[in-house]
């Protein structure tokens, strides 16, 4: 086993072991599915916008991926507080490998979470295009990598876990709500539209929605390019911040 593999494995093992965390983190997506699905579904469909679950299901999957990924990234704060980070920082392994291994671990964990939510959406009546499922999982993995790296970048700057709620409320939530996950962009007011269009996550949402539902706001090509470029940039940013971290 090399360093990258073992860093990846540690995250996956720890995630699979924390059953309470897996179950706990399903609460929010379920709540959103029920509240938005039941609450808005009828209005949405009555307004002639088509099937709401088709719009909502990919959004909820993404929510679950994004939140899990950010959390795994930010876990570095714990590693620092409980001292384990030092063990990795004195090892003959480059900072980039450590950061990248954690990013891949975070992406894997969040995809597992996303797939669980996907299965739940099937149970509540989501009918995906089956040919799009595997590409969509790859897409979710990239979104997971993007937000794990983002979490690592933030964690490298934060002193303790107390700032985590601030990050969630002022960074992650806005990114999520302004990604078109919960409402269609074509009917949104201009200001919202502009904000969503500069948010890279919007393209991730559109990609997954397109792959599973067949309808793109933008296009497969544009979505993929924006997502990949954003992910690469954030990984570089995360690697740069992590390089400066002191145990």
């Amino acid at each position: 086993m090399n360093a990258l593999q073992v860093l990846w494995r540690r995250q996956v093992i720890k995630y699979l072991r924390s059953r309470s965390r897996i179950i706990g983190s399903l609460g929010q997506p379920l709540l959103f599915l029920l509240v938005f699905g039941l609450g808005f579904g009828k209005i949405f469909e009555a307004a002639g916008q088509g099937s709401y679950i088709k719009l909502l299901a990919p959004g909820i999957m993404i929510m679950s991926v994004v939140f899990t990924a950010i959390f795994t990234g930010i876990e570095i704060i714990w590693d620092r507080q409980f001292g384990f980070l030092k063990e990795t920082l004195v090892a003959p392994v480059s900072r980039f490998s450590i950061m990248f291994g954690k990013t891949l671990g975070g992406a894997t964990v969040s995809v597992i979470q996303g797939v669980i939510v996907f299965i739940i959406t099937l149970l509540v009546g989501f009918h995906p295009i089956w040919a799009g499922v595997v590409p969509a999982i790859i897409g979710l993995f990239i979104i997971g990598a993007l937000f794990s790296a983002f979490g690592i970048a933030l964690a490298s700057k934060l002193k303790d876990m107390q700032s985590f709620p601030i990050v969630m409320n002022f960074v992650v939530m806005p990114l999520f709500f302004l990604s078109g996950s919960l409402f269609p962009l074509n009917t949104a007011p201009t200001v919202l539209k502009i904000l969503t269009e500069i948010n890279p996550l919007t393209y991730g949402v559109d990609l997954i929605r397109g792959l599973l539902g067949g309808v793109y706001q933008f296009s497969l090509g544009l979505d993929s390019i924006v997502l990949l470029v954003a992910t690469a940039l954030v990984i570089l940013w995360g690697a740069y911040s992590f390089k400066k971290i002191e145990a």
Binding site: M1, R17, F84, K86, P92, A247
Partner: protein
């Protein structure tokens, strides 16, 4: 004699505080050296610079003949037990060691034998499948010592390694370290609060205070030069303070207690 640890005019400033003040020292191969000094003397900061965790403000370090710029070579050369805990409590003892083996590029085949060997050394082989969070403070410390030796380092840094250990385990650890020194030529630099530990285990002692080395040599040499009968008296004379653990700062006492209770 080959020098295994060297520091030249090594300095670390934190804003206006000079934690380590232009110190010079070397430790020859196969030597057990002690850093003895009160809290805040700069012991940990020096070790952090020697182990690539902290960039010196000025000055040079060398470990195993490698300068601090040859980061990877230095990191392969030493093992370390940190002053504060550094295990993953959510993994088993064995998983912590497997993780270490992978980071240090030890092959799966070699890792297996090595894990057995180091776990036997610290008497934890029967607990290898248990989660570290179920371990006592002393057991965690032993596991960290085992881990630090897994990749057969040439130099071992031990930052207050025996805090929280019972006397029996403490003795056993030193027996093992001394044996490695004799059989493998291991070079050791440790810091301690325990005067008698420095006296018993160290070939050379560096007394460090306010970021400076105020005395150095064998215990006998230090006693002679200060005209005192015990290392304790010598220490008092040199630094004007007493560092028995009971006199340690409240923060430190809290820390070691937190460690003993396993923190989580």
């Amino acid at each position: 004699m080959e020098k295994m640890i060297e520091a030249q005019n090594l300095t670390k400033k934190f804003d206006s505080l000079t934690a380590v003040d232009s110190i010079n020292f070397e430790v020859p191969k196969g030597t057990i050296a002690a850093f003895l000094g009160p809290n805040g003397a700069g012991k940990t900061t020096t070790i952090r610079m020697l182990t690539t965790l902290l960039q010196p403000t000025s000055g040079e370090t060398k470990v195993n003949g490698f300068s601090h710029k040859e980061v990877d070579k230095i990191r392969h050369s030493f093992g370390i037990v940190f002053q504060d805990p550094s295990l993953d409590d959510d993994l088993t003892a064995e998983e912590n060691l497997v993780f270490h083996a992978a980071l240090y590029g030890i092959s799966k085949k070699d890792a297996h034998g090595k894990i057995d060997e180091v776990l036997n050394m610290v008497d934890l082989n029967d607990r290898r499948k248990d989660f570290v969070k179920t371990f006592s403070g002393g057991m965690k410390r032993r596991l960290e010592i085992a881990r630090s030796l897994m990749h057969t380092p040439a130099v071992l840094f031990l930052d207050e390694p025996t805090i929280g250990l019972d006397p029996q385990t403490r003795n056993k650890m030193w027996e093992y370290v001394k044996e490695l020194r004799t059989t493998k030529g291991l070079t050791v630099l440790f810091t301690t609060h325990y005067m008698e530990e420095a006296e018993k285990a160290a070939d050379i002692v560096f007394i460090i205070d306010h970021g400076k080395i105020v005395a150095r040599g064998t215990v006998d040499e230090i006693k002679k030069s200060t005209d005192t009968k015990t290392l304790e008296e010598a220490f008092l004379k040199l630094t004007g303070s007493d560092i028995r653990p009971s006199e340690a700062s409240a923060a430190d006492a809290f820390k070691s207690q937190a460690r003993a209770w396993g923190r989580r």
